[in-house]
Amino acid sequence: MSEQHIKLPEGSIEKTTTTLNLGPTHPATHGVMQNILELDGERIVSTEQTIGYIHRAFEKIAERRPLYQITPLTDRLNYCSSPINNMGWHLTCEKLLNVNTPKRVDYLRVIIMELARISDHLICNSIVGVDSGAYTGFLYVMQYRELIYEIYEEVCGSRLTTNIGRIGGFERNFNDIAFQKLQKFLDEYPRVLREFENLFTRNRIFMDRTMGVGAISADRAMNYGFTGPNLRAAGVDYDVRVHSPYSSYEDFEFDVPVGTTGDCYDRFLVRNQEMWQSLRIIEQAFKKVQEFKGTEAEIYHADVPEYYLPEKEDVYTKMEALIWHFKIIMGEIDMPRGEVYKSVEGGNGEVGFYLISDGGRTPYRLHFRRPCFIYYQAFEELTKGSMLSDAIIVMSSLNLIAGEMDG
């Protein structure tokens, strides 16, 4: 066998990059977004993102609908935690209309929002697991998301796109079954979360896949407009629930977990810790709700006759209730003029609603500040120089939800 190595002349091999289309339909199932990667072997040289594959023109639709008809649109923004978007929208309307909700309503809202946050973080963390090869965590945890869905069903009738609550409160009082199911959740879920953590947190393979991957510094994260768990993993403790408390969050005691390096492992840990803190908040809220007795336990909405449908018995017997019912259903209520911006802490960060009202029946302009859209821009910086498989892990640990991105 000849040991001659063939020597090629200098400069005759050109190093070119491969273009790989991590296209709109990809198995990582995060929704539809496209990434065109330039690869040098396995290393990523640059990326280009294309979104808009599920653009549904929410902002234009909202100019056509009165306030209470916009709630189903907000459901479909971050559909993994739709109650938070609904509550955020109701809080925006209540800010515009100057409505104060009673404490019991606030505590019930807190319970629902924290359940939604747990639901969202469960999907995100288990999908990070699936993408790094561990399908088991996802299946175990889906069982408990079903229990959360059952609780939503008792309150509003729907599982995923809930349209929960109304402007001023809730559509019906939480019945005993909802509280029983909530108690069952609080009893069983901590053990499951601990099992889920044991599966991943000190798992050698998982740590190798996620540590040091997709790291971002606090300054760059703030410049890119990151909010939510992604920003907190980078070291900045900005949480809208603490900065500008809404819905009586100041009555609860909870910690805000903060990471250090902002890589995927930190994001995973921050989300896990947030789930523990959410459990803590739900327990406190549940106890506080049970302290209301007698007639106070029957309060489930504020007094907003212009936007809250009156009870059916009143509609058939009292005159004002009949008039309000007619006006609300036929859409003849005028909003006060004004412009208001309100944000809540969603599963991905600060979900903001900028509402301009000109005194008509529908908003003049409604703009949603969608956290996914804003932080997906940083994807190129997060993955430059890393391997192809890291790009997948970064995409899933950022918790990109296509409905929120395109809106």
């Binding site: 979104i51 056509r64 515009l96 410049n223 003029r337 000109d358 008509g360 529908t362």
Partner: protein, 196 residues
């Protein structure tokens, strides 16, 4: 000392004089207007000043006021001072026939896609933007859909019945005569700058 709205107003007026105007304080958020040529200067001032420190761009969007001549398009910036927890809203107005605005991407990287979205919906040309092309809509679209004169529905569809969906047609119920806008004509002129 606490960063109150009056203090911010004083600092802005001290630096920009008469250029900044339209101060209002509804729902606890200070709002002001500046001419469009000064938008970068104002943003830089709010960013660099040691007391003001508005270093987080929360949101960037545009609004279309078809009735205000010469000032139809407004670009609205929402800024946030994270340390002192103060928010501020800053608007600039531009003419729809010449909608050029300086880009804020040099200062805030998050403005990149937000300006692309604003261009996609309203047609505002951000001067100096690294990659100003459509982001959410189809590339071949030739109009800017969020402007008030364009309808929501797709005009080329043939399968849905306009009358039954309240969009004109032969019968006419549910047309513009009975949709939800009831703004009195005389008030329409004041919608832009002072919304309340």
């Amino acid at each position: 000392m606490a960063l109150t709205n009056e203090h911010i107003i004083n600092k802005l007026q001290e630096k920009f004089g008469e250029e900044v105007s339209g101060f209002s304080d509804h729902y606890d958020m200070l709002t002001f207007v500046a001419p469009k040529e000064l938008n970068l200067k104002v943003l830089n001032f709010l960013f660099d000043d040691d007391e003001l420190r508005f270093r987080f761009l929360t949101d960037l969007c545009a609004v279309h006021f078809p009735d205000q001549k010469e000032k139809e398009l407004a670009v609205v910036y929402h800024l946030h001072n994270l340390e002192d927890n103060v928010r501020i809203r800053f608007k600039i107005f531009t003419n729809i026939n010449m909608p050029t605005v300086y880009t804020a991407t040099g200062l805030f990287s998050s403005a990149n896609w937000m300006e692309r979205e604003t261009y996609d919906f309203y047609g505002i040309n951000f001067v100096g933007h690294p990659n100003l092309k459509r982001i959410l809509n189809v590339e071949e679209m030739d109009y800017f859909p969020m402007l008030k004169q364009y309808p929501l529905e797709d005009q080329t569809r043939i399968d849905k019945d306009d009358e039954m969906f309240g969009r004109g047609g032969m019968i006419g119920f549910g047309t513009d005569k009975t949709t939800h806008r009831t703004v009195i004509e005389s008030e329409k002129n004041n919608i832009g700058e002072d919304i309340v």
